[in-house]
């Protein structure tokens, strides 16, 4: 319930979202296209559930769930929501600090989050607490110590890994 009358939010759905998220810290921002709301990670699932259950907004469809690595500042988890009945869009974000890369699972709100969270988990090394099926999705099972979509993971690293492990084999000089 901050920045209720923040500049540049005219014409967006912020008033409805603000009313819906009563009691939850939410920071609005005008995106290039949709309204962006940032919620702290402790309150994110409560916020998402409120947005889905609200009669005026009814965000019943999870379009996309992804992570963005901001290096020293932590990792963002981004939820793109859509309301199939009201035809509204909303982007919800939460920032995870590097010391504690974990957030509650959104599979309790939309089942669609299941594979998307598995992918984000293996690519960024984020833990989704309470996920019903926390296996690897796209990457091989033994690749659980390196996180390819983090910025610290250079592209060349993959080539090196492949060069050592697959292309040349043991004892063969490249």
């Amino acid at each position: 319930m901050t920045n209720g009358d923040a500049d540049g939010l005219e014409g967006t759905i912020w008033p409805q979202v603000d009313a819906c998220l009563a009691g939850i810290t939410a920071d609005p921002e005008r995106g290039a296209q949709d309204l962006i709301v940032t919620i702290p990670k402790d309150e994110i699932i409560r916020g998402l559930r409120a947005l889905k259950g609200n009669a005026d907004l009814a965000f019943d469809y999870l379009r996309c769930l992804s992570g963005v690595d901001w290096e020293d500042e932590g990792i963002d988890i981004v939820y793109h929501l859509y309301s199939s009945t009201r035809k509204l869009n909303l982007t919800v974000k939460t920032r995870l600090p590097n010391e504690d890369l974990s957030v509650d699972t959104a599979t309790t709100v939309w089942r669609a989050a299941n594979w998307l969270e598995r992918e984000t988990a293996e690519m960024f090394g984020v833990r989704f607490e309470g996920h019903p099926d926390p296996r690897m999705l796209l990457l091989p099972d033994d690749m659980d110590d390196t996180f390819p979509l983090r910025k610290e993971h250079p592209l060349a690293e993959i080539e090196v890994l492949q060069g050592e492990g697959i292309a040349y084999g043991e004892g063969v000089q490249p």
Binding site: G31, A32, Q33, D34, I36, D60, Y61, L62, R63, C64, S66, V68, D69, V78, H80, S84, K87, N89, T91, W110, R111, A112, N114, W115, L116, M136, L137, L138, L139, P140, P148, L149, L155, I158
Partner: protein
């Protein structure tokens, strides 16, 4: 895993059946690529399904983060190789929105024509492959491929490549379409009309085909929405959600077309939805041709190296398989900080469990076929 064996006392002398696990894929003709599902079966009934994906993962998102905006276009073709134009469109539109560019009118009409033609060619591919999945005839496959080839020829004339077009650019098109473009599109539409009629007669009115598909693989509207399904998979369950109608991009708000929905959400409805969508695509292309006028295909001031201000955009378009979204985050400069590809097939595949459990093993193949998956897009 699951116990399908009821708790019967040992002295009943009844047969005890054990659950059997069978592995289907990754090398199996009906999995449309490298997809593996582990089926737990009790007799002929499927009691559990575990899908395994990732065999085609090439890290397209990571690669795009190391390339400038123009180089990324080619990668979009490689994620969605049956609807390349639609994939490219999402990407270039995302870049355009960030860079505040607008494509000239002619470029937008041409894009619309090519995207709808690509929907036709992709759905032809579906009709053919699906006929083979159902196992009634191989005829459909050859017919569908012939029709698809006419469209593919046209694409080759326009883009210079049969599959990996890389023809759209942020701001417009790579080059002007050939001089006889309009005539060729009309010619191709005529052939497509004949093709849809042929295939429709061959499949829709076939009794065996209907017996195999009607009432199979049911997916309710609530489940489809909850799983994040989109495209014909969602619309067949009766949800009239189509991004072309709900949030029109290009000039979809200036043409007339209907959003096709199904009633029962079964395999037959998903098939029928696609066939009817093909007629709508033809309707759209015809209206586009009427409006196509000579003009520039790129803006007057297009920088040689495209740079975007910091910001983010989630650009979604209605591809043949559903919502193809590009989430682009920029820190400024000439390459994305983060590029996420929202795959329609990935979300549709999640619903596979709901549709197959409780059905027969043979139906699992039909249900998978009805989702029309492209594994390149799922794994990226």
């Amino acid at each position: 895993m699951t116990t399908a064996v009821p708790d019967t006392p040992a002295f009943d002398h009844e047969f005890e059946t054990q659950d059997l696990m069978i592995n289907m894929g990754p090398q199996h003709p009906s999995t449309h690529g490298v997809f593996r599902m582990v089926l737990t079966i009790d007799g002929e009934l499927v009691t559990d399904v575990t899908p395994h994906i990732g065999y085609m993962h090439r890290g397209a998102e990571k690669l795009c983060e190391t390339m400038d905006y123009r180089q990324g276009i080619g990668y979009m073709d490689r994620t969605e190789y049956l609807a390349n134009f639609n994939a490219e469109l999402s990407y270039v539109m995302a870049v355009e929105q960030l860079a505040e560019l607008e494509a000239p009118e002619r470029a937008q009409w041409v894009r619309m024509i090519l995207c709808e033609l690509n929907r036709l060619s992709s759905h032809f591919m579906f009709l053919g492959a699906f006929g083979t999945d159902v196992g009634v005839f191989g005829t459909a496959f050859t017919y569908a491929f012939r029709e698809r080839e006419f469209i593919q020829d046209l694409f080759e004339e326009v883009a210079g490549d049969r599959l990996m077009f890389a023809y759209f650019r942020a701001g417009g098109l790579a080059w002007e379409v050939p001089g006889n473009f309009e005539a060729r599109v009309r010619e191709t539409l005529e052939l497509s009309r004949r093709g849809i009629k042929d295939l429709d007669g061959l499949m829709t009115q076939n009794e065996i085909f209907r017996a195999r598909t009607e009432g199979v693989g049911h997916l309710s509207a609530e489940d489809a929405l909850d799983w994040g399904a989109s495209g014909p998979t969602l619309r067949a369950s009766g949800v009239p959600m189509d991004i072309r109608k709900d949030e029109p991009y290009l000039f979809y708000d200036q043409v007339e077309f209907d959003v096709i929905t199904g009633e029962h959400g079964d395999v037959f409805d998903r098939f029928q939805c696609r066939v009817n969508e093909m007629w709508q695509s033809i309707r759209i292309i015809e209206q586009c041709l009427e409006r196509l006028e000579p003009g520039p295909i790129v803006p007057d001031r297009l920088p040689r190296m495209l740079r975007t201000p910091p910001g983010e955009v989630y650009c979604r378009t209605e591809a043949p398989r559903g919502e193809y979204g590009i989430y682009l985050v920029s820190k400024g400069g000439n390459r994305p900080h983060r590029l996420k590809i929202r795959s329609a097939c990935l979300s549709n595949l999640q619903a596979l469990r709901d549709m197959t459990i409780g059905g027969y093993v043979a139906d699992a193949v039909v249900v998978l076929g009805s989702l029309d998956i492209v594994l390149c897009e799922v794994d990226r």
